[in-house]
Subunit: 96 residues, 2 copies
């Protein structure tokens, strides 16, 4: 299923900047960045739980915000993008 | 239906800062800000088309990025939020 992960990490101090790097790094292991703090993650239920726990252990819930939008497995006609980011179709053919 | 609108507007110049303000203002007319550049918009198909056209007329597609994630009408168990933003249930009871 396709899950959109979106986060706002408060970077007013070095601890926040570190949390931001870690959160982005974790998301990169599970999906593709489509905007500065928005990732498309193609995951199953177990992977989603692991991803959630990893991210929750990183953010500071007093200052940061984390969203998961579950779009399901039939997502191709539910995502529309415009503008300067080019998207790789995560489960499309990989051409070498 | 619930549509997540997410944008990255390049604010390297005053024109970009102006586009950002306009994009945010348009989204506020259709929904609720849940993160810095992420809105939850409860819209029908016609409203979505109007919203899309308004936003596309504002952004500069060479520098900015705009995403629409359509989560559908049964969205309550598809959105998970954690951290410091409190959410108003857009179609929940309004209590005075």
């Amino acid at each position: 299923m396709m899950v959109i992960v979106s986060y706002d990490v408060n970077t007013k101090d070095t601890a926040g900047k570190k949390r931001l790097r870690h959160v982005a790094k974790i998301c990169q292991d599970y999906g593709q960045r489509v905007q500065n703090s928005v990732f498309e993650c193609l995951v199953n239920n177990m992977q989603l739980e692991i991803l959630k726990n990893k991210l929750l252990s990183e953010i500071d819930e007093e200052y940061d915000s984390l969203y998961f939008f579950n779009i399901g497995s039939r997502y191709h006609n539910k995502i529309f993008s415009y503008g300067c980011k080019t998207i790789v179709d995560l489960d499309g053919p990989v051409i070498f």
